[in-house]
Amino acid sequence: MTDLQFLTWVRGPGLDIAVGIFLLGVLWRLFEIYSLGRSKDLSAPRRTPGASGLHTVFRRSLPPPGMLKCSPVSYLGGYIFHIGLAIVVFGFAPHILLIRNLTGLSWPALPSQFVDLAAVVTMAAMTVMLADRINKPAKRFLSTFEDWFTWAATFLPVLTGWMAVQHLLLPYTAMLALHILSVEILLIVLPFTKLFHAFTLFGSRWYNGKVNGHRGVPV
């Protein structure tokens, strides 16, 4: 199989399989999770300012008092790499083209040099966070295989995409194919790992906020 054949495969059958498993997994898990439900809380709600699902959705995006100093790498690194990922995924012209093709939605692209910078910053932040996870005994203790695996599954698409654009290590065609393959692996594992937080994040925050809000606790 030549580089171009490999690329055509990942753009064709590979993408079809990956998107299929992704959609299957996402809908499966969303239906499963949201149909779980909970028994109705019959107690009278205690109203407290700032205690609601919506408040929690936003509040959980900010570090609780004192935590930023206690664990700066987690918060700052987390912010930087999530924003960086968003810039790279949604700002790069070829990505927007794919999204337009699949969904019909499109928006103006960012200059590729800026996206390139965002990719480098994202990878740096992710690397620092990985080092922190290895170095901090508590974090290391709490880490399971899934944590290391999902880190790699997220990091590889950024790395291979950046290397393809920069023409590093392998010919562009092969690296582009590896990039698309790594994204396909990410799509396949996303619904079945903690990466599914991309879909459940706000729902679970709302849920927690609502339960605690009912008890009058602004979390």
Binding site: L4, T8, L23, L24, W28, F31, G37, L97, P111
Partner: protein
């Protein structure tokens, strides 16, 4: 510098100076040192005239057209004056048994020394019966001719990689030269057709140094196929700025913006079009407003469509809809099962243990 070739050129209105300039250009295009231009000119003028056998197989003659009719009068075409082209169906006067006899004679007289040029793919289906010359299949002729060849030059994408005949579903079972010939040095000069100067560059290199130029992993001369169209494209700055033509007649197209969104395969295509250009340096596909088709890459015909951008799916997504429905059905099914479990636990007054929470 004297020689029959120089005289022949003079008769056709090509001065010695033009010839030297041409050789210097060839040398610089092949990234050879400046003195190589002079060496090339001398070697070609000396006209050692090595025997060349050109076998046309499953092809359209576009490659021959490209080299002979690039522009007129063409120095590329005159390269034929410095070789002894003993067999070339399109160009030779002989026909039928005479032509076959000329080929066999050349092969016998120059055994182990002649250069074999092949254009066209080799069909293997039905014992090679899809393409025969003089009642003999292409694969048979290639094996026979390759045996005594010093080297084989596969001209055009069909000979180099199978090309259009090999496109899915490949009804004739077409393969490339390198699929058949394993024990001889092979140079692939792909392109549909290849750039004339690339063909002459390889021949000139062989005549001058007696060896083949440095090749890449796909057997292509690195000097011409070392970089992608995209990397050498004059429209590249627009790609970097995110300025793309969306249709062939919009403002972006008129402003000469990048053709990536219109399906240009420049980023994955290795060729010299952007630097050598076509028709005597007049223009090249991207300059004339059409994206690169990727014709110098293996299986370019089946690479997902000429007008589909590289970042788009090569085929329409087939299973996505069914997968989404299946996913929703599984989710709803498990949802009902969970509800039933909850109901059963409730009616049995089961309590939640710590172990349950760990699940």
């Amino acid at each position: 510098m004297q020689g029959s070739l120089v005289d022949a050129f003079a008769r056709q209105g090509v001065s010695r100076r033009s010839f030297l300039k041409y050789c210097a250009t060839l040398a610089s295009m092949m990234a050879l040192p400046p003195v190589a231009g002079r060496a090339m000119a001398e070697a070609m003028a000396a006209a050692r005239r090595p025997s060349v056998i050109w076998l046309p197989f499953q092809e359209c003659t576009g490659c021959t057209e490209s080299i002979t009719r690039s522009h007129s009068p063409t120095i590329e075409g005159m390269i034929f004056d410095m070789i002894s082209l003993d067999y070339q169906e399109t160009l030779m006067a002989a026909a039928g048994h005479q032509a076959e006899a000329a080929r066999l004679n050349a092969m016998q007289d120059n055994a182990g020394k002649y250069l074999l040029i092949v254009d066209g793919s080799i069909p293997l289906g039905r014992d090679g019966a899809y393409s025969c010359i003089g009642g003999r299949s292409n694969v048979e002729m290639l094996k026979e001719a390759a045996q005594g060849a010093a080297a084989v030059v596969a001209v055009g994408s069909c000979a180099a990689f199978g090309g259009i005949p090999r496109a899915n579903p490949n009804p004739t079972g077409a393969v490339s030269v390198s699929d058949i010939v394993k024990d001889k040095p092979i140079v692939n000069i792909p392109g549909c057709p290849p750039i004339p100067v690339v063909m002459t560059g390889v021949l000139a290199h062989y005549l001058t140094f007696g060896s083949l130029p440095e090749l890449d992993a796909k057997g292509r001369p690195k000097a011409f196929f070392g970089e992608t169209i995209h990397d050498r494209c004059y429209r590249r700055p627009f790609y970097d700025q995110g300025k793309f033509a969306k249709t062939f007649d919009d403002e972006g197209a008129r402003n000469g913006w990048c053709l990536f969104e219109l399906g240009c395969k420049g980023p994955v295509t290795h060729n010299a079009c952007a630097t050598a250009k076509w028709n005597g340096g007049t223009s090249w596909p991207v300059e004339s407003g059409h994206g690169c088709l990727g014709c110098s890459e293996p299986d370019f015909w089946d690479a997902g469509g000429f007008y589909k951008a590289l970042s788009l799916p090569a085929d329409p997504l087939g299973i996505a809809g069914a997968a989404a429905v299946a996913g929703a059905a599984v989710g709803v099914g498990i949802g009902f099962a969970n509800r039933a479990k909850q109901g059963a636990a409730k009616s049995a007054h089961e309590t939640t243990t710590l172990a349950d929470l760990e699940k």
